[in-house]
Symmetry: C2
Subunit: 363 residues, 2 copies
Amino acid sequence: MDERPGKITLVEVAERAGVSLGSASRAMNGQGASEAMIDRVRTAASELGYRPDASGRSLRMRQTKQIAFAVADIGNPVYVEMLSAIHEAVAPGGYRVVVMQTGETARSTADLVRTMSAGVIDAMILSPLRVDDDLLEALTSAPMPIVVIGRPLPEHGIDSVSTDSAVAVGLAVEHLLAIGRTRVGFVNGPLDTTPGAARQRGFGDAQQRHLPNNDAPVEIADDFTVAAGLTAAHALLSRSQRGNAPLDAIVAANDLLAIGVIRAARGLGIRVPEDLAVTGIDDTEIGSLFHPSITSVSLGSTERARMAAQIVLERIAPDTSRQTDVRQAHVGPTLIARESTGTPDPLLTALATTPSESDGTPQ
Amino acid sequence: MDERPGKITLVEVAERAGVSLGSASRAMNGQGASEAMIDRVRTAASELGYRPDASGRSLRMRQTKQIAFAVADIGNPVYVEMLSAIHEAVAPGGYRVVVMQTGETARSTADLVRTMSAGVIDAMILSPLRVDDDLLEALTSAPMPIVVIGRPLPEHGIDSVSTDSAVAVGLAVEHLLAIGRTRVGFVNGPLDTTPGAARQRGFGDAQQRHLPNNDAPVEIADDFTVAAGLTAAHALLSRSQRGNAPLDAIVAANDLLAIGVIRAARGLGIRVPEDLAVTGIDDTEIGSLFHPSITSVSLGSTERARMAAQIVLERIAPDTSRQTDVRQAHVGPTLIARESTGTPDPLLTALATTPSESDGTPQ
DNA sequence: TTGAAAGCGATACCAA
DNA sequence: TTGGTATCGCTTTCAA
C-alpha cells in the first residue's frame, strides 16, 4: 500500500500500458484517445500510483491554474471576505486561489510581485498598502495580468478596482453630525499608506465643510489593527477628556481601528455610544457582531473583489480582443448605521422577533 | 521603458552576452563564474529585462521554495496567528508561505492535497477539519512532506502537532464551577469534525465528573463561526431561559462561537458575565479585545504552528538522517481568565495605569 | 573558468 | 486514433 511512491512519470505509465508517451498523455487528458486506450492507460497509471507533475505541465502549457491574492495583512477580515468572493468567481474556471502576504512596505510588495512574475501564477489580484515608483515598475513589467484593488492607476496602464475612501470618511462625519455630535475626532492609520492618505484627505475635506473651527483632533495609529487603534484612541481620548470640550464622536479609519477605539473608551470609563459615537470603515462581519455593533461605511469589498476577479479572468482568456485598454472599475461607499452611533441593531432586533428554531443564518 | 516584455529566456541573455547558456545560468546564480562573466551576463539580462522562469527551474531543481498552509477557514483568526508563526519560521530559509483553503469536507481537503502533490509546493502544513480514510490515503501517498496540525496520526506515519482540546473543554468547565456557576451549557461545532468530536467528548467527561445530574444542555452550531454561534446560542438560551433553572454559564467550542454566544445573550437581554459567564477556546486576539473580553483556553496555536514549520523544514532538508520515524509534537491547553467570566481585564487594567504616551503595544 | 549537451516531465505537432 | 519527436526554460554534468 505504501510501495515507494517515488517519482512515476508518464513515460513509465506509457511503458506499462504498452503505448507511446503521446498516447498516454492524451489518454490521461481524455481527448483524442479511444475508450480502450483511456482504459489501459488509466489502469496502468493508477496501478503505478502516477501523479502528473505540475512543473512539467506548466513549463509546457505556460499556465498554472493558480491566481494569487496578495494582501498586506490577512488578519484584516475585509480581506477574508474578498478572498471568498474571488474564490467563488474563479473556481468555476478551474482556478485555485493562493493567498500571499505582501508585507507592510512597497518594497516587500514589489519583491513579491517580481518573484511571482516568474510563472508561478497565472495572474494576481493585489491590494497594496503602499505604492511607490519601484512597485509601479514591477507592476508594469510583470508578464502576467495584475489587478490592483484600492486605487486607480490608469496612467500607468494598470487595471484597478477602486473605491473612494475619502468620500467614505465624509459619509461617516456627516452621519455623526446628523445625529447631533459636534466634537468629532479621527483615528487614522499611517499616512504614507494609500488608504491612510485618502482617508486623511477625506477627513480634512469634511472638517473644512462641516467643522469650520478646524481643530478636530487626529491621531495616527501605527497600523490598521485593533491593537494600534487601542493605543491611538487611548492617547486621543485621554488628551481630549482633559480638555473643556471632550470628544463626543470618533471616526476610525477602518473597523479594526474602531474596535480598538471602543475598547480604549471602555478602559477610560467612556460609554459607547452614549458618551462617544464611533464609526468604522469596511463594514466587516466582525464589526457588525461586535458589542456595540459598529456603524461602518461599506466600501463594497465583496463586489470589488468580484470585479477584480472578473477582470483577471478576462485578461487570462487568450481571445481577449483588445489588450490595450486599461480596465477600471469603481464602487462607491455606503454607510450602515448600527449601535455604535446609537442606531438599534437590525440584527438583534430581527433575532428578538424570530422563533427559536429559526434557520435563517444572519447576514 | 515598456518594450514588449514578452518572454526573454536565458538563451537570449546568453546570446546577447555572447556566452554559452550554461555560463549564463552560472552567472545568474553567481557560482562558478568569473567576475567578468557575471558582469556581462547580468548586464545583458537587465538590458533585456530577463526574468527567470519558475517552471523551468522547478522542473529541473525539483523544488519551488513554496510551503502551503492549508486551512478550512481563513476567517478564523487563530489561523492568521498560525500563519504569522509559520512565516517567521520558514522565511529565513528562503521559503514563501502560500495559504490555501481546504474547504469544509474531507473530500475537498483530499482533493487539495492531491492537487498539491504535483510539485507545486515543497511541503504542506495542514489543519483539516474532517479526516477520513480517503484523506489519510492522500496524505500518506503524497510525495512531499506534510505536517498535520490538530490531531495525532502516528499510526498512519503522518507527522503531526497536536493539542488536547477535550482537556481544554474540561479546563473551561472547571473554571466556571470554580467561580460558582452551576448550570453550564455547551455550544459546540459540528460533531463530525475533529475539534467538534474532541470537544464534545471533553464536555461529556467534564459533565460526568463535575455535573452528575447529566442534563447539561448542548447545542451544535452549523460551523465554527460567529454567525453559527449566534444562531445556536439563541436557540439554546431561549430554550433554557424558559425553564425553571436558567443557564448561568456557557462553554463555547471556540472564540468565534463565544462571540456569537455573547451576542445572542445580549439580544435576549442577558448580561455577560453577570447573568451568564461565557468561555471560548483558542485565545485569539479578537477574543481578548471583544467586549467583554473573552475567557479562553489557549491551545498554544502559535507554538504549534512554529513546531509544524520546524518539522517541515527538517523534512525538506536533504540530509535528514532518519526519514522513518514519525514526528509528533504536543502542546497542552492553558486557561486565560477574562471579563466574560467575571475576571477584570488585565489589558484594560494595564491601560488605566499607563501614561497616555505609552508606546507599549498591548499583547 | 567556460562550452556543449543531456535531461527534468509534460504537451503538441506531424506523419502514418 | 496512434507513434515518434521536438520543445517548453532551466540546471548540471562532462570535457576542454
